[in-house]
């Protein structure tokens, strides 16, 4: 029996993202990151675990259901989750039960007939662009996560940068 595969769908708006703009504005104007923060962008992340089927084809099918291509773009990654180097990616997800992720799983399984979907997890990826070097940037990213991006009583976060070699 082959091991389960994981399809990571990174989804972002093609149109301006007002939520990311508000986050940047708050960090710059209210929380003192004017001198080091260059920009903030945001993605939604769906991590879909499957127990059978062609992951490449399934990724396209899932994207048809989960991505509105009139306003969004996406990138599908199979069994890996990589990000570009020019920003610090901060993954924020609920550590309490995520009702929306459960609804997506049930919609894919029951209503759309994808019986090979085992699990769905959902997260927000905050892409923080800094005018500072990587180690400092990651320290600042942790601060930003804890001061603004999460409420620790329901959310957890993770810095997804590649290790510095």
């Amino acid at each position: 029996m082959s091991p389960n595969r994981k399809i990571n769908l990174r989804v972002w708006l093609k149109i301006p993202d007002a939520e990311a703009a508000t986050v940047k504005n708050t960090l710059v104007r209210r929380l003192g990151y004017k001198n080091i923060l260059a920009d903030v962008k945001k993605e939604r992340l769906f991590s879909i675990e499957i127990d059978s089927g062609d992951p490449e084809e399934l990724a396209k099918s899932f994207a048809k259901e989960l991505v509105n291509e009139n306003k969004e773009s996406y990138k599908a990654l199979i069994d890996e989750l990589l990000f570009e180097d020019e920003y610090v990616p901060v993954k924020v997800a609920l550590h309490i039960e995520d009702g929306e992720a459960i609804s997506v799983r049930e919609r894919l399984r029951s209503r759309l007939g994808f019986g090979n979907v085992v699990d769905v997890k959902k997260a927000t990826i905050w892409k923080l662009y800094f005018d500072t070097l990587r180690p400092e940037a990651e320290v600042a990213a942790r601060e930003i996560a804890e001061r603004l991006l999460i409420n620790p009583h329901k959310d957890s976060y993770e810095i997804l940068s590649r290790p510095i070699i």
Partner: protein, 288 residues
């Protein structure tokens, strides 16, 4: 006796709230978020109304909680002035650390933050926020039956003795109020050890959701959002800051009640929500 009804971008209940404030013979005015925060000291009390400040971006209430007026409101709260947060107002009070308020005024420097450099102030936000109002999860017979935004008339039981809290100062323990809710994030959760016990022991739980006879049944449709121990409202230790998910301003007059309530036809009668505003007024009179 002058009340500031706070208005952030996305607030949507400020005018009904102002009507309620004036109808119990207090003066009041809308106070925009970008007005000079120093002017807040001219007021005797504050209401943060419901709505969707900053479109609930990131999570409900968090952006508004970082505004300079919230630092000024913390200073006014320290003076003992009453603050009533309704729905989104409750969410803002939680995100700013004013409720449940154990860490009150411990994080003013990080809120100002204008000269902050890399590495300073780490973990300040999580250190002064003791709970969250998470996404609604409605549970019945051990199963999740609904999630997300929900609006309905609910029954509330007043849990504390009168005079414990500014917003229920004139309400007796055990009183039942029928008041509407309308929110997507009212599920009180916390990872702070012992917080719920402390809220109970210190009588900081002001209202719980209940059935029409006042029984607490910790599942949907009585507990409308999955909140821990059916908690609908809490106050801070001092009792001057109250946050509640239901909207008393939408049940201020009897004619606002739902069609199936016989009181609706009695045009001159007060609605149950009036008691919250009357309490605030009485609290200010007593503490003046």
């Amino acid at each position: 006796m002058k009340i500031a009804v706070m208005q952030f971008p996305g607030t949507n209940c400020e005018f009904e709230t102002l009507v309620a404030v004036k109808a119990v013979d207090m003066e009041g005015e809308i106070f925009r978020w970008n007005r000079s925060a120093g002017e807040l000291s001219d007021f005797d009390g504050f209401v943060i109304p419901g709505g969707f400040s900053y479109q609930d971006r990131i999570r409900a209430g968090v952006i508004a909680s970082k505004e300079p007026v919230m630092s000024a409101l913390k200073e006014e709260a320290d003076k003992g002035k009453p603050i009533l947060g309704i729905c989104n107002g409750f969410q803002i009070l939680v995100e700013s650390g004013l409720l449940p308020g154990r860490s009150i005024s411990c994080d003013k420097e990080s809120e100002k933050g204008s000269n902050m450099g890399v590495g300073s102030g780490s973990n300040k936000a999580s250190s002064n926020v003791d709970m969250a109002l998470a996404q609604n999860v409605m549970i019945s017979k051990g199963k999740i039956v609904r999630r997300g935004y929900y609006c309905d008339w609910v029954n509330l039981r007043h849990e504390s003795p009168s005079k414990r809290c500014s917003g229920s100062f004139a309400i007796e323990r055990g009183a039942l109020l029928k008041i509407p809710i309308a929110h997507g994030e009212g599920n009180l959760v916390t990872t702070t050890p012992g917080l719920i016990k402390k809220l109970n022991d210190d009588q900081q739980v002001i209202f719980r959701y209940c059935d029409k006879n006042g029984r607490i049944i910790n599942e949907f449709p009585f507990n409308v959002n999955g909140s821990t121990e059916s908690i609908a409202a809490i106050c801070n230790e001092q009792g001057n800051v109250l946050g509640m998910m239901p909207h008393p301003e939408r049940a201020f007059f009897a004619w606002q009640l739902p069609a199936f309530d016989p009181r609706k036809q009695r045009a001159d009668e007060a609605g149950p929500g009036r008691r919250v505003f009357e309490s605030m007024k009485r609290y200010i009179e007593v503490n003046a």
